[in-house]
Subunit: 389 residues, 2 copies
């Protein structure tokens, strides 16, 4: 029986990954040709060659629908044009990707479910899938980010665990074996077909291999490691290290120093995984995969956190310090640096403090002091590194 | 008895590292205060505020010496001004660093010897040390580069092994336990006191710790791994990967692709070490040290090989291909890209072919095809990567 694949999510990254899944589902006998893609339904229309949506929060006139007003459901546009005109304009989606606004229909009989939705969609969406997907179905989360317990030891919570928890049987046992896909993946570049790599973090090698087969293409090289927690945490922790890299850039520090900050950051990411998820199978080699060193390098040279931290340090040097939210608003065209980005650095510090392991994370601690406690950016190198003699 | 330290070499990197060694030898009771620094004697004079040497190959007039001509021995200038005016101008050397033109005097009674000389100096210089250094002396090589056997299996030869071989007892047993210091270290930045890290590769942990103690300062964080071959080979192999990174830049590829090339390069560096030095204790963690990932990142974003490969790819795209030596001459102000740099990529390929392991090195192979066999730079992503399912 071929695997029945469902893609839950259709934003920028979801649509980009659909280009890989669609090709493989079509070409390979292991998979059912048709892949449903769940789309949060919106209404769109073309104006002067550009697809637009109604203003945020707007409602159609009394007694009318958006369709009456000349709009078309996004799912319909995707299925007719084979293009996600809103979230991935200009890229043709494989024709076997079928947009569908109903998540229950989407996952009906699915044996492999790919999740790529904002994580505040988890609670409203996932329970609707209950009883629809096939027994023994497996899941793969492409959702970046991390949650933290709000009290007690403030422990980090994996999004893949949250997903799995939403799909538990009545006796509490997990019904879906969850993997993750992480890596140095700027969505638009992946969609264009630029060569990129990614990492599957899985619990069972046989499931990891299934996911590799589904995602891997000539321009998207996917490898599996049996380490869900390591792969997923890398994707969140890199945003902390990128603040340190940005401070270096803003201070005009040279290559030696920035490379040292990135490397110490990678080691602290590894330590963080072991301290908080030591009960899982954290593997050292995970950090040499795309989800580890490659994603970190990309983020520390090109990411938004790096850029904002660069500006943050420059503003302090110029005697005109600015708050993070001001920098974000000014530099990112109103696009938020997102709670899970600078916010991650704060949550990570809370978790480290609650666990009583501050001394083990000299870089994370110093980044926090600079970003949120008024320490000068120059103190980035005043880490209390462990002595090695 | 305090350790008696000798520094053999006084070029840019040798003088930079003298700033760390001098401070520690002076401050720490473990070391004898005075550190001899062997200097290849040259004659210098100040002209218009700049120190100059006679033209290359020039001889003083018949019956005269350079001193008669108003020049001063470099050793004398270093010892009077505490500055290596030729190789590290503008940086004050600690006053306990004593320049000495005679290597036998330099290492007389030495218990710790630091080597930082061009490797063509090994054969003429090292034998002169015979019988002078203390019994049980240990050595540390800071020499970057690699040699290869000229025939047969073209095996890579470590410079630290060459050094040790030059100091063997008559029965062939090694007389000096050799370590190496490698890392993301641009010499001028280290000398200025910019924060940097470095890695000691050692065979015996107790010796690694001695070297850490000698080199480690607040702005120069040194850690030891018991892996000489891994640490030393990283410093040579990175120059191969940097060519691939430069091709990506020249082609205008994005962050995903460049990060993938760097990461695959790091894995092939690791594999190369294991294939050719599997009999030594190659450690996975070595590649997460400064000598591994940090030095690689610095070289792939800022090094000379990267720059020349960038230009090489751009010239091909523009329809005006240029040979490596032309690019080097034009772009590096006559400074050679050095045999051990592009040359390393060629020697590495010969060794891989001789061993019959080409398939295990898809990136190194593709870089070689582009750099030396006329393949188009765009084929950098046509690596035959291993399948993971």
């Amino acid at each position: 029986m071929p695997e029945k694949v469902a893609l839950i999510g259709s934003g920028n990254w979801g649509s980009a990954i659909a280009t890989k899944i669609g090709v493989n589902a079509s070409a390979c006998a292991d998979f059912d040709d048709k892949v449903y893609m769940w789309v949060f339904e919106e209404y769109v229309k073309e104006e002067d060659g550009k697809w637009v949506r109604p203003a945020r929060g707007a409602k159609p006139p009394e007694g009318k629908t958006w369709v009456d007003e000349g709009y078309t459901p996004l799912t319909q546009v995707i299925n007719e044009k084979h293009e996600n005109v809103i979230y991935l304009p200009g890229i043709e989606l494989p024709h076997n990707i079928v947009a569908c606004p109903d998540v229950a229909t989407c996952v009906d009989g699915a044996t492999m479910m790919v999740f790529v939705i904002p994580h505040n969609f988890l609670a409203p969406i996932v329970p609707k899938m209950e009883g629809k997907f096939a027994k023994g179905a497996i899941g793969c989360s492409l959702i970046k980010g991390i949650e933290f317990e709000k009290e007690g030891d403030m422990k980090p919570i994996l999004i893949s665990d949250l997903l799995q928890a939403e799909m538990k049987k009545s006796d509490g046992a997990p019904v879906v074996d969850m993997s993750v896909l992480m890596g140095a993946n700027v969505a638009n570049e992946v969609a264009k077909g630029d060569f990129a790599e990614a990492t599957i973090g899985c619990t069972k090698p046989e499931n990891g291999l299934k996911w590799c087969k589904l995602f891997n293409t000539k321009d998207f090289a996917v490898q599996a490691v049996t380490d869900v927690a390591g792969a997923e945490l890398c994707g969140a922790m890199k945003n902390v290290v990128a603040l340190g890299a940005g401070f270096c850039d803003g201070l005009g520090y040279g290559g030696n120093t920035k490379a040292a900050i990135i490397r110490i950051g990678l080691k602290e990411m590894q330590k963080f995984c072991k301290v908080f998820y030591g009960d899982r199978q954290i593997k050292d080699e995970t950090f040499l995969e795309s989800c580890g060193v490659a994603d970190l390098v990309t983020t520390c040279f090109g990411g938004r956190n790096r850029k904002c931290a660069d500006i943050f340090a420059k503003n302090i040097a110029a005697g005109t310090p600015k708050a993070w939210d001001v920098i974000e608003a000014e530099e990112l065209n109103g696009q938020k640096l997102q709670g899970e980005r600078t916010g991650t650095a704060q949550d990570v510090m809370k978790a480290i403090k609650a666990k009583g392991v501050v001394d083990a994370f000299p870089l994370f601690s110093q980044i926090h002091k600079i970003a949120f406690e008024g320490a000068k950016p120059e103190t980035i190198i005043d880490m209390k590194l462990e002595k090695y003699y």
